[in-house]
């Protein structure tokens, strides 16, 4: 695999504030790379530097080997961009919006017409192609943005919070289309707040906080880092269960009471702990109504790494 995006010590300041601080990472060809971080962490600033909207203060980045500063036009030829806010031309028709982006990318007439028809059809907009974009809902405008981004057959697609605030249908359709395109070799750079989406879609994720990268890895690898966040969740039918007996089981590091009478026991070996709980329940005549082992999800990792857990506490 080769890196299609290579970022080295990229920095961007706004006056006194350093929004992105010496960020380095790479994105391999054909990869879906998720870029996660809390609000103001520097995700969008990084994306805007890579797409040529703002210039870096220092550092370097290449897109398909083209330096984003010195060969910005060549770098931008390979990109399709779907920003967080669907900035379609409201007074242009759906069709003209798509064709405009194709023309800006110098896509030959026949190809842009074919691509435009196919994409609008796939995203359920073909029947509304003559309507002005103003008449579309937020979800449909975001779909139109995706059509406009893909009509030039880019090698790399930048998605900035693509499903934020969308209706259920659009929020499901967008990732499906992106995954389909990714299977056909499209590289995707995705910023998102939606951990489930990142976990489901991304081959690797980078987590940024306070302008700095705090972790980059595959979601499953990041989860492994948090062994102590494995847990067993259970609930008893019997009343009068002594939680201290459960808390003192070997391997249990912490226990928390949750809603609806559930208890969460943190352990590095959830299977073993579950077996011990069942034995203990048998011995004491407690009836277990529900029991499940849980791995930490990406959200747990994210909250841990960005310190949001502490803030929440």
């Amino acid at each position: 695999m080769t890196a299609v995006i290579d970022v080295q010590k990229l920095t961007r300041g706004f006056g006194e504030l350093t929004a992105v601080d010496r960020v380095s990472f790479d994105v391999q060809a054909g990869e879906i790379f998720g870029f996660l971080g809390p609000n103001g962490a520097g995700k969008s600033t990084t994306l805007r530097m890579l797409t040529g909207i703002i210039e870096p203060t220092s550092g370097a980045a290449t897109i398909r080997g083209h330096d984003i500063r010195t060969e910005s036009l060549a770098a931008r030829e390979h990109l399709g961009i779907v920003p967080e806010e669907a900035n379609v031309y409201l007074d242009l028709s759906v069709w003209r919006n798509v064709m405009l982006m194709a023309e800006l990318h110098d896509v030959p007439r026949r190809q842009r017409v074919e691509n435009g028809r196919r994409l609008l059809d796939e995203l359920g907009l073909y029947d509304r192609r003559k309507e002005k974009a103003r008449s579309l809902s937020k979800g449909l405008r975001q779909r139109l943005m995706l059509c406009s981004a893909l009509v030039s057959e880019p090698e790399i697609l930048f998605l900035d919070e693509p499903t934020s605030g969308l209706d259920v249908h659009s929020a499901r359709l967008m990732p499906t289309i992106v995954r389909q395109m990714n299977e056909q070799s499209l590289t995707v750079f995705l910023t998102t707040h939606n951990m489930a989406e990142a976990e489901e879609m991304c081959h690797r994720v980078g987590i940024i906080n306070g302008g700095r990268i705090v972790a980059i890895d595959k979601p499953e690898e990041l989860r492994q880092v948090m062994k102590s966040h494995h847990s067993v969740v259970l609930c008893f039918e019997t009343e009068g269960v002594d939680p201290e007996q459960l808390r003192s089981l070997p391997g249990v590091t912490d226990a928390k009471s949750e809603d609806a009478g559930f208890l969460r026991l943190y352990t590095e070996a959830p299977g073993h702990t579950a077996t011990q709980i069942v034995r203990l329940a048998d011995t004491n005549g407690w009836n277990i109504s529900e029991i499940a082992t849980c791995k930490p999800n990406l959200e747990d990792v994210f909250l841990q790494l960005t310190g949001e857990n502490d803030t929440a506490k």
Partner: protein
Amino acid sequence: MSTGTAINNWRRQARGTFVIAKKNAILYYLKPPVLIFGVVFPIFFFLSFKMGRPIPPEAIVPGMVAMALWFTASAVGPLVTPWERRARTYERLISSPLSLRAILAGDVVSGLVFGAGLSVIPVVLGLVLTDAKVVHLPLVVGGIVFGAMSFASLGVLLAAPPASSPSNIMLLSNLVRLPLLFVSGIFLPIAEMPGWARWISPISPLSYAGDLLRCGFGQQPYFPVWFSLLALIGFTGILFYGAQIFHRCWQAKGL
């Protein structure tokens, strides 16, 4: 970079300029601010100047054409960029594989076409309703085309400050356009203006466009024809170059 690649890149940017100009024409020619400041404004200026004054109608035709051209060609630029910044569509343009120069050239071309196209109306009205006659057609055409080019470049330059509201830029553009209108020999030939105004008039591109049009309609020019042509080309170059610099400087602030 090889010559072939350079030519291909140049062609590609030129096609992009055409795409931007086409988009501007579809989206902005009929926007109210363009029509008000570009069409309604010059008509009422002309009427307020002409009514009740003992001036032969044919004598004011070149001035009328120049004034219409001045307002129309410079009306598009100050609207497009702030409008697109506010709608956040500007980001789509600057993240496309088009250079800032090509994008701004598209704005200039759309202003040029709008101005030159609408200036046909006062020319035809002048020829039909008055005794005015075109004596040197190339000078009339040259005055309109080169004048529109420099006025449109001025409009694009005025759109550079990072204001997200088009009305702020329209106010700024009128702050520049209106004073220059009065020192450019439109209402009074430059030769008959007071000394201080004659000194100031060369800094306005409208002075040269008006002079070329006056000559084209068979009146006495103030500047040599070759000088007016060169001045308009020079103004276009300087204003467009300045537009690129200021747009680049304020690009990030305006987003």
